[in-house]
């Protein structure tokens, strides 16, 4: 259990967990911008076409980069090939994992579930525990003591943050959990959000993951080359950096313990290449407010809600001009956070104000 100098306890079984429940922040009702039911229904419509197209392009890019990496192995030309391969495998898989987790990417359920299992393995997240973790993240977004996915607790640990760009803490921690799951054990925190009837799947999948990694490692040993691991295993380290660059924009530096996604999420405009790699998760307020809307309709949803939203960040640069100084300031001043300004026509409910 970790208790920070702010007095905040980010574990899911500690003092702040009880506090969140007592203050009505757990499993609470969240502010939602007004949108007509008719328009929302139009935006919620599921389609297979966009995600099939994007997934084919995505896998084609992965295969091409991987093939070029193989052909150029032993030369310097292999570096750019594996940089591209690593970003697709170790970073972009995060957004595929996310959209298929919500089962909104495709209309066809099995396509969502298939992509979810593949992307979970690629991004080194066990599919069952992370489905439940992310469900809790949506229930209690950035509620201290309840949300298992708070990326930057206060005060920020800058070393951990730097290491996260290459998953140097996350993956070893996940690996330890995976091994525990192989032996039929969950952590105390995991027990708070993974229901009994799902636990056998956790153990089964962990054994499959470990088996795959064991085969790849054995293959690398037999041929005396790390090449197999460049395709499966190592990309979660060398390819993770873009996932973190994108991911930190979602919530870092914003308010904790508020029930209004406009105050604890960021929407950031991005170029078409980034939006393809990130599958439109740059519209993060919109996604949290209406998670039924598929990624390909989030831009339209953004237009519908824009008048009620705080100012949208004009690119990663503008977002990081806020995130970096805020994070540095929070090291010494953990109670500091960015207070998003809402339009006067769209004030949050008084009871939902930041605390």
């Amino acid at each position: 259990m970790r208790v920070e100098i702010t007095g905040r306890d980010y574990s899911l079984i500690g003092r702040d967990t009880k506090l969140a429940e007592e203050r009505g922040l757990a499993n609470a009702e969240w502010y939602s911008c007004k949108i007509s039911r008719q328009r929302l229904k139009e935006l919620m419509q599921r389609r297979d076409g966009p995600a099939i197209r994007d997934t084919l392009i995505w896998f084609a890019a992965l295969i091409i980069a991987g093939t070029l990496g193989y052909l150029t192995w032993g030369t310097w030309w292999t570096a750019p090939c594996f940089i591209v391969y690593g970003v697709i495998y170790g970073s972009s898989s995060d957004s595929r994992w996310h959209e298929s987790l919500h089962r909104t990417a495709f209309k066809t359920v099995w396509m969502n579930d298939a992509l979810y299992e593949i992307a979970s393995f690629m991004v080194f997240r066990e599919s069952v525990p992370w489905r439940w973790s992310h469900t809790r993240h949506h229930t209690d977004t950035i509620i201290v003591g309840r949300d298992p996915e708070i990326a930057v607790p206060r005060p920020p640990d800058l070393v951990a943050l730097a290491l996260s760009f290459f998953s140097l803490q996350r993956v070893p921690k996940e690996f330890v959990k995976m091994v525990r799951h192989c032996f039929g054990q969950l952590t105390t925190e995991e027990k708070t959000y993974i229901p009994d009837e799902e636990r056998h799947k956790v153990y089964r999948n962990a054994r499959i993951y470990i088996l795959i990694y064991a085969v790849v490692i054995a293959w690398a040993i037999v041929i005396h080359s790390i090449l197999p691991l460049m395709y499966i295993g190592l990309p979660v380290f060398y390819g993770a950096w873009l996932m973190i660059i994108f991911g930190l924009t979602q919530h870092a530096g914003l308010a904790e313990d508020v029930l209004d996604h406009r105050l604890n999420c960021r929407t950031v405009y991005m170029n078409p290449v980034f939006r393809f790699l990130y599958w439109e998760m740059n519209y993060h307020i919109e996604h949290h407010m209406f998670p039924m809307v598929p990624y390909h309709a989030l831009g339209k949803l953004h237009q519908e809600l824009k008048a009620e939203m705080p100012k949208t960040y004009d690119g990663l640069w503008e977002a990081y001009r806020e995130i970096i100084p805020t994070t540095l300031r929070q090291v010494k001043e953990p109670t500091y956070f960015v207070r998003r300004q809402l339009p006067s026509t769209a004030q949050p409910l008084p009871s939902l104000a930041p605390v």
């Binding site: 499993n27 039911r37 229904k41 919620m44 599921r46 919500h102 089962r103 909104t104 209309k107 359920v109 069952v128 489905r131 439940w132 469900t135 949506h138 229930t139 229901p195 009837e197 799902e198 209406f290 998670p291 039924m292």
Partner: protein, 111 residues
Amino acid sequence: MNETWIEVCGIGEIEKADLIRFDHDGRTFAIYRTDDDRYYATDGLCTHANVHLSGGFVMDHIIECPKHNGRFDFTTGQAKGAPACVDLKTYPVKVEAGKVFLNSGLPGDQF
């Protein structure tokens, strides 16, 4: 199941492939209309996290919870996968004289 029925609404008050929330006697229900004009009723709250299903999305016979995308077959109440693991309770519905009626199974419900 008792034979008393509660009037919910006129048939035109629920759009095709949609649902409405209906509160009665301290309980909340979801009343559905399919594309081919059949009506169904379930408990109004998702069994996963007490979210009103009325804000959700209807696809064929599936209702998707607006908060966590949990899915149920609203014709049977069957949960269709995580995070929806516990089935919804369903209730009989009938249409008479242009109105939708629900039988909640409790004594004392009145026409």
